[in-house]
Symmetry: C2
Subunit: 452 residues, 2 copies
């Protein structure tokens, strides 16, 4: 039905209370597709549509709604209905939802939720933002080590409807310590009588709940797993993190890095949902800070004002030289920032990389110097050509090294290296570029003067 | 064993031929961990270690090797051994491996591989780079619709060792047309006698093999799935793409966007493995192109040389104004580029976004103009303050709009909008910034002159 179905048709089904059509939509479509259609309906219509699916099915759809739609729906729901839905929802998604509700709504809903679920919510709620704990879920499947394969499968059959995944099952001892791991695929392949103990892998890759969520995402990507278990300092299992949540984490972190690299503060609600005023606030602080950093460049110009006035032709090459510095620096910084983010290079290798990049910078500098020498000579004779070419060489080599070093330094200072890219490096490159250019110009003009 | 194990100990085990220790490593550790250890061993040592696991186990480890290690291992392997390994490897990984081998090696290996596998390799080989076909695998599980749940499970038990995943099973008709989909979780929960036909979901989200791999990754992320089926134009199933491959795709695409946004050409082998010469080549072309774009800025300066010489104090604010323009433009461009990449905004909404960003730019411009007016007045009196403030307002508003529009225009021209960020926008911002600044300065100085 999905491809041939249009929003007006669903609207009509709802207004005509077409039971068959609506329950087909609720039961056949992917939850994300249902949620997508629902974005075009008002809250009451969505509730009518949802009511044609079972509570567990409704709970599957809910996490796919946008934040605005979610808010509308909660307001129009009635607390009792909402509490039943929360009980049926994936454990991580319901905590995310409650975190986005205002405190009054949470205070009204929580007492209506079954005690075990309420405690589970409180526990997951307590992990700090950005930690592995904040994205983990507690609806995972476990088995004791002595159970036989066929009994394990029967057990999983019973608990499956209440588990986010039963594809990976974690084997625990009496004190919930993680002692092994088995996949459903492995369990199905096994002889019915074999104990889980003899089937499981005892080398389990696990995460600590306090770890940064980005680390977890990188681990999952590295080991090609669907889920990873989360343990406390006693190796007791606390939850699991699943591939779908960690793909979202990776996307978020990447967007944050992109924004930081353009000197924009992280947008918590995404670009489309940010208000004009919010976008202004996230951008203005860096812009103003960089104005003050730029005063250094202005200072350099002021110091060399006489040189500039005496040889106003030098101004012609100003944008060329300082921009090339900024561009080179921002290339280098971006390469390093990204290689650090993907763990391709480590902080400890900075000296080796600096050496390598010095050579890259030298090659770039020589090429650019050649081009600038020709341009300079064409414009103002060999003397100008020499000034511009030599300045370009120094500027490119220098800003390239700054671009390489800055991300390492920022990481060392426990700041996000992404801010090293573009605007910050451009501004630093400008100041140093101006200084190099005017110094070299003064030096050559004076020297030439003596010779002549 | 993993955490307590060090490379020298594995080396010792290999030299002493410690069968028990080595087979424990091969059978207990995660393939990615084994491959990580192997990076520190020479090819012969790795082969000794591998030989303590079964062929299917060796085939699981192989895809985790780095490209250099892979090459060394293939050279030292002997073609017969390598062909057995290829037969056992996941179908997508072995094609990737062969793509990285030189033609001679491929010509030697292919005839040794079983006919069915060889044909499968040829088929997967034929899809163009970057397409969904190039990342899909053909070792997926299918079922006919009439089979009963318990028979389906027995069937899966038989084929599981040769399938990349059996967690999602695709239901096909006699002509291999995709008619439904069921999860292993669903199958296990079902009553043994029910036919798959009555259990499956008939609304299957599928992909076409020609689609861009990035689209596939976004679909998988959107629907929170482990795998997606790939079909031809007759809806016949060709393969599946799995979550682990698509996480890699997302990472690659993001790295490419980061590099493009800093005017670096895409690095096919990653930063660490790129040679100095290769890095130089990937960076130099944009740098040189931007030098020529910068000549526009130089031209503007040349045109206003007299104004500048007459009022050399104006030079003081040059870096401040043109950098602020560049920074504003690069903020705007990056926000739009990223929002387009994550499908947060669509191309068609450009006019609405331009309107919104005009207001953001106006707010930013007014703030920056205020600051610049004060700086200008402090430095050279109210006249200079007015010139600098007004220039700043115009520059920020204008470059912000350019930053918003450029990614839309590039997308429309079927170019990657990521190149709009940073260096390109900075260079454009400079030229326009200089023009605005000098025009306003000339206008105010002349006007003031008349008044005075």
């Amino acid at each position: 039905v999905a491809n041939s179905l249009l929003l007006p048709e669903i609207r009509q089904m709802i207004s005509e209370n077409d039971r068959q059509g609506l329950s087909q939509i609720m039961n056949e479509l992917h939850p994300a597709s249902i949620a997508e259609f629902a974005e075009g309906l008002d809250a009451e219509e969505v509730w009518t549509l949802l009511s044609h699916g079972s509570i567990p099915r409704q709970a599957e759809v809910f996490p796919f709604f946008s934040q605005e739609k979610e808010r509308e729906l909660i307001e129009g729901a009635g607390n009792f209905r909402m509490s039943k839905l929360l009980e049926a929802m994936p454990h991580d998604d319901r905590v995310d939802l409650l975190k986005r509700c205002d405190q009054d709504t949470v205070d009204e809903l929580l007492p209506l939720i079954a005690k075990a679920d309420r405690e589970d919510i409180r526990r997951l709620y307590s992990y700090p933002e950005q930690s592995v704990g904040s994205v983990m879920t507690s609806d995972y499947a476990t088995l004791p080590e002595e159970i036989r394969a066929q009994d394990a499968i029967s057990h999983l059959r019973q608990v499956a409807p209440h588990r986010e995944t039963i594809y990976y099952i974690y084997v625990i001892d009496d004190e919930r310590r993680l002692i092994g791991f088995i996949s459903l695929q492995g369990l199905i392949l096994a002889k019915p009588d074999v104990a889980v103990r003899d089937l499981m892998r005892s080398e389990v890759i696990s995460l600590r709940a306090e770890l940064d969520q980005e680390e977890a995402a990188r681990m999952l990507a590295k080991f090609d797993l669907i889920a990873l278990p989360v343990v406390d300092n006693q190796n007791r299992i606390l939850g699991i993190v699943t591939h779908d949540d960690l793909v979202d984490v990776l996307e978020q972190e990447v967007t944050e890095d992109f924004h930081l690299s353009a000197a924009v503060g992280p947008l918590t609600e995404g670009y489309r949902r940010s208000s004009i005023w919010y976008l202004y606030r996230k951008r203005v602080s860096w812009l103003v800070i960089l104005v003050f950093v730029n005063l250094v460049s202005s200072g350099v110009i002021a110091a060399f004002e006489e040189t500039l006035q005496a040889a106003i032709a030098l101004a012609f090459f100003l944008p060329l030289l300082i921009d090339s510095g900024g561009n080179t620096g921002s290339q280098a910084a971006t390469l390093i920032v990204r290689a650090l983010a993907t763990n391709e290079i480590q902080l400890s290798t900075w000296a080796k990389i600096l050496g390598r990049e010095f050579l890259v910078g030298l090659l770039l500098g020589l090429t650019m110097a050649g081009a600038s020498f020709l341009l300079g000579t064409a414009r103002g004779g060999v003397e100008v050509g020499l000034i511009v070419g030599l300045s370009m060489l120094c500027i490119v080599v220098f800003t390239n090294l700054i671009g390489v070093l800055l991300p390492f330094i920022l990481t060392r200072l426990r700041m996000d290296p992404a801010v090293a890219s573009s605007p910050l490096i451009t501004t630093i490159a400008d100041a140093s570029g101006l200084f190099l250019y005017f110094s070299i110009a003064t030096w050559i003009i004076t020297g030439w003067g003596k010779i002549g």
